[in-house]
Amino acid sequence: MMDTEKFNWCLRAGDNTLVLSQRLSEWCGKGPALEEDMALTNIALDLLGQSTLWLSYAAKIEGLDRDEAGLAFLRDTHEFHNVLLVEQPNGDYGYTLVRQLYFDVWHTLWLKSLLNSSDTHIAQIAEKSLKEVSYHLRRSSDLVIRLGDGSDESHTRMQRSVDDLWMYSGECFIDDALDKVIADRQVAPLPSSLKEEWFATIQGIFSKATLTMPSKDAWMQQGGKQGRHTEHLGYLLAEMQFLQRAYPSASW
């Protein structure tokens, strides 16, 4: 019998990386500098590779005739389980960088905690991904510090991005029924257990960046993990899934 809990949990992991990868790819050819263009597309590629690992594992658990591509291209909005943060539009470059920093800090902490998963394959995916993600975090923290502690214009824009995106930062740490079951099985830790270290890391980076961290107790948006998304996801999927929708089963 299929392990529905683990399947759904793997979809969350695969969808976070897939949706953020797609968002970052939107910068391809439009980055503010050639180096930034290459960096974002390379990070997008790492995330796409990681998503392939998660969704292939989900497909294997499901045991039906759809593979990772079927899961990526033939599910509709409400069947996606990524957090709301990753589907937010790119905005200006500051917005993209702050979104990336919030995600990278969480992603690093989360992958580290998965190294001890009771599921060996999950621990292996985490080990592989962590090496890539720690490089992402190094870069996003560097740039947030440089732009936060930069000119008046860059500082103002960074602080605005920090404030605007804050309400999407908390969903990663909210435990729902599935998270509790998965934690009981020691597949992954409770999301809430990563919260304090996330705050401490963000605070450390913001201090150097001369940015002000919003309140820890602020009200947080949620729903993505359960399939309730902001209006932005549908447009993203419409573009990402166009080919398979228009030409079903098209392949190379």
Partner: protein, 171 residues
């Protein structure tokens, strides 16, 4: 059924080039982890991906299969292994020399590659090793971009000969 020695098989795969950096082979890069005979007739090749999104992975798998087939191996099974995760420390000494001759600075050795020691804030331990310019040999170089033409490389410039060059990142 022709049997091949382990040396013959490794020799064969050392002719399979990386599609993006044709100067080095998949053996030089440490992508091929083991070559064994299963049931005395199937040649099992264990490979490990470099970066999880590396677009060359599929081509590499196909090239390995073709190379073994042209050697005369009839049954081939290629398995992908994620753990232990690939590291540039597995790159051979010969591979490093070939990279350098090709104009790519070879990777420094990973500083205590234990995962537990990764500085998660990303704020400390920032001293970068001196990277030698593959053109003129000077260590007076600087980082231009953390990402280069592929996921595995960063872009540097030599302050002495002023040439920009690719640096294979320690991973």
């Amino acid at each position: 059924m022709v049997m091949f020695t382990s040396e013959q098989l490794w020799e064969c795969l050392s002719t399979v080039c990386d599609p993006e950096i044709p100067a080095v082979s998949v053996v030089d890069l440490g992508i091929v982890r083991s070559l064994t005979w299963q049931d005395d007739e199937t040649c099992e090749v264990i490979i490990t991906p470099t970066y999880s999104g590396c677009p060359a992975t599929q081509v590499i798998t196909e090239s390995i299969e073709q190379a073994l087939q042209s050697l005369g191996v009839e049954k081939i099974s290629i398995q992908t292994q994620l753990s232990p995760a690939w590291t540039t420390d597995w790159m051979s000494a010969a591979g490093r020399e070939k990279l350098k001759a090709f104009g790519i600075a070879p990777p420094a050795h990973c500083v205590s590659s234990e995962l537990s020691s990764i500085d998660i804030s990303g704020l400390n331990n920032r001293t970068l090793p001196d990277i030698e310019c593959p053109q003129c040999g000077s260590s007076h170089t600087r980082l231009l971009s953390q990402f280069g033409s592929t996921a595995c490389k960063a872009l540097y410039r030599c302050n002495d000969c002023l040439e920009p060059f690719d640096y294979f990142k320690p991973h």
